[in-house]
């Protein structure tokens, strides 16, 4: 009797879990195993679903593909520029927000807007602002010439110009999340510490370095880690600016390379796509581990 009851309740528990489990097995667990299998199947043909052998050829192909190397280079540049810069600016802005009373809500609302906009749609606006066409130099170039510079095509022009727009847009897109997190972290620092510092006559800068930063360091590191992960996966903002043919624009990212291998004009190679995706995963995992190690030494919990 008791045994039957236990069995019944177990069954019930699993029954409630069933929908979630089914979806997770089909769309997550199975694909996760499958992607590794794909990545080792050499010469896979998606039409006949056959392959020649098993080995590391896909990895070596991907690692020697100039498009992939370009994508890796682009992604690393993007990560190295945008993560520190966006975190730094977000810290500056959050400190600013926290020190004012009037208009504070308004600023916070405005700063959050990019989060709720469609990356593709607003990317198009950025493209128009920066693009130089036969009819018009575009607004940004107008500003540059006003200040005495010479105009440059940021969308179809030199590499550094394109990279600049990409970094700028990426920072614009990731800022709301960082400002939000840092503002709430800053406002939760215990006011008594500041009062104590004031009594001691500590300068504002010193207070910030010695009290504020250590107190919010867990949140800063959280943002740096998620920032790294997010920037390594950059894709849709790049498409928004430069269109879908990213290899031709020399602006492809690792994720973009994966999708190009999978689908589209250059697609039909799930094995190469899998190998590239696993390489990306390995890079992200390594960087995250390094980040965690560094944070263990420097973060005060």
């Amino acid at each position: 009797m008791n045994k039957k009851k236990l069995f019944d309740s177990s069954l019930k528990g699993w029954l409630y879990l069933l929908p979630a489990m089914l979806f997770l097995i089909v769309f997550m667990v199975y694909p996760l195993i499958d992607v590794f299998i794909y990545s080792f199947e050499e010469g896979y043909n998606s039409a006949s679903q056959t392959y020649f052998g098993v080995g590391g050829y896909n990895y070596s192909y991907v690692l020697h593909d100039p498009y992939f190397l370009q994508a890796v280079k682009n992604t690393f540049i993007l990560v190295i520029i945008t993560v520190p810069l966006s975190t730094g600016i977000a810290l500056l802005i959050s400190t600013g927000i926290n020190s004012i009373k009037p208009l504070r809500d308004l600023f916070q609302t405005v700063y959050f807007l990019p989060y709720v906009t469609n990356t593709l749609a607003v990317g198009l606006v950025f493209m128009i602002l920066f693009k130089k066409t036969a009819y018009s130099d575009g607004l940004i170039n107008l500003l540059i010439t006003w200040f005495g510079g010479s105009s440059v095509d940021f969308i179809d022009g030199p590499y550094w110009a394109k990279m600049f727009v990409l970094c700028f847009y990426t920072i614009w897109v990731v800022m709301p999340f960082k400002i939000l997190i840092l503002t709430s972290a800053l406002s939760s620092v215990n006011q008594e510490y500041y009062n104590a510092a004031k009594v001691d006559g500590t300068s504002k800068f010193r207070t910030f370095m010695r009290i504020t930063l250590p107190m919010i360091s867990p949140m800063i590191f959280y943002l740096i880690i998620t920032g790294f992960i997010g920037a390594f996966k950059a894709y849709s903002d790049v498409v928004a600016l430069f269109g879908t043919d990213l290899n031709a624009a020399e602006m492809n990212t690792i994720v973009g390379y994966v999708y190009d291998m999978l689908y589209g004009d250059s697609g039909g190679y799930p094995s190469y796509a899998s190998a590239a995706a696993i390489i990306l995963f390995a890079i992200v995992l390594t960087i995250t581990c390094i980040n965690l190690l560094i944070s263990k030494k420097n973060v005060h919990y």
Partner: protein
């Protein structure tokens, strides 16, 4: 006497310093606000300029004296913007609804029921949270293609109806509901399902609303999966639609009409955000990631 003037002097410099600092702060904050708002202003402005006026401006103007709504009419007639919007609405509503159903039951099982293997199952669920989408999307693409579900709503919707993270979030919330309520209900002979519906869901409404909003934002902006899985224009979502408009629609140069489309696509989420501002921001700081 002398001391008194000294204090006044100190007070004065301190006050002046304070004014300078707060002015600099406001200037800085305003600069960033302008950077954030300007693209929005520019897209609305451009969408109101007529095609001829826009193309004759070699130096772009910061305002327009003859606004026109013609571009909005063009956006709906020349390309299938209406279709994209309907598709995205269907996709968003159905995905969110199925997801809420799935995660509520899973969270209930983890939070309230006792069964064999629960802890191990939960551990497996948690570890799945670390799997990036890019790793599983390749096989999902092949699976959906093989099932002949490309260019169909099931193919679009089904892979994104579970979220381990939201299950986790909801489970934490369910666990805060005191056990005594559950046992009282049991004594009254209430079934588990009824308890879930009548007690747990109403109590956890704030969390469910937060999850709903976050999912709606995610669905409305999703681009990668829909792009892989649809190449028939009748199934495009807004993101793919905008990409299509950019590459083929309107003739490449009709930028005002493009901007009208961009405005139409952006408005729903911005309105949603302004209505549920507190909820959205609170929800994102608890469980959002973007960047």
């Amino acid at each position: 006497m002398e001391n008194g003037t000294d204090y006044k002097k100190i007070e004065k410099t301190a006050k002046r310093k304070k004014t300078v600092v707060s002015t600099v702060t406001y200037v800085l904050l305003t600069v960033w606000a302008v950077i954030v708002l300007f693209p929005f202003y520019w897209m609305i402005l451009t969408s109101l300029k007529s095609y001829g006026a826009y193309n004759s401006e070699y130096i772009p103007k910061f305002f327009t004296l003859s606004p026109t709504l013609q571009n909005y009419a063009d956006a709906f007639t020349t390309v299938s913007l209406g279709r994209y919007l309907i598709n995205t609405t269907i996709f968003t509503v159905v995905t969110t609804a199925i997801m809420l159903f799935v995660i509520t039951f899973a969270a209930f099982a983890f939070a309230r029921l006792d069964f064999k293997g629960k802890n191990i199952a939960f551990l497996v669920f948690l570890s799945l949270m670390m799997i990036p989408n890019e790793l599983v999307i390749i096989t999902n693409f092949v699976t959906v293609t093989n099932l002949d579900m490309r260019n169909s709503f099931p193919g679009l919707i089904l892979p994104s109806v579970t979220s381990v993270f939201y299950i986790y979030l909801l489970k934490e919330n369910f666990e805060q509901i005191p056990d005594s309520l559950y046992f009282a209900a049991k004594v009254d002979g209430t079934s588990d399902l009824k308890y879930l519906m009548k007690v747990m869901i109403p109590i956890s409404r704030p969390t469910l609303i937060t999850i709903t909003i976050l999912k709606v934002i995610e669905c409305w902006n999703s681009y990668v999966w829909p792009r892989l899985i649809t190449d028939d224009e009748n199934y495009f979502l807004v993101s793919n639609g905008i990409q299509e408009i950019r590459e083929n629609g309107f003739g490449r140069e009709n930028i005002p009409a493009m901007m009208a489309a961009v405005v139409v696509i952006s408005v729903p989420l911005i309105v949603l955000f302004l209505i549920f501002r507190k909820k959205v921001m609170e929800g994102v700081s608890r469980g959002g990631t973007k960047g």
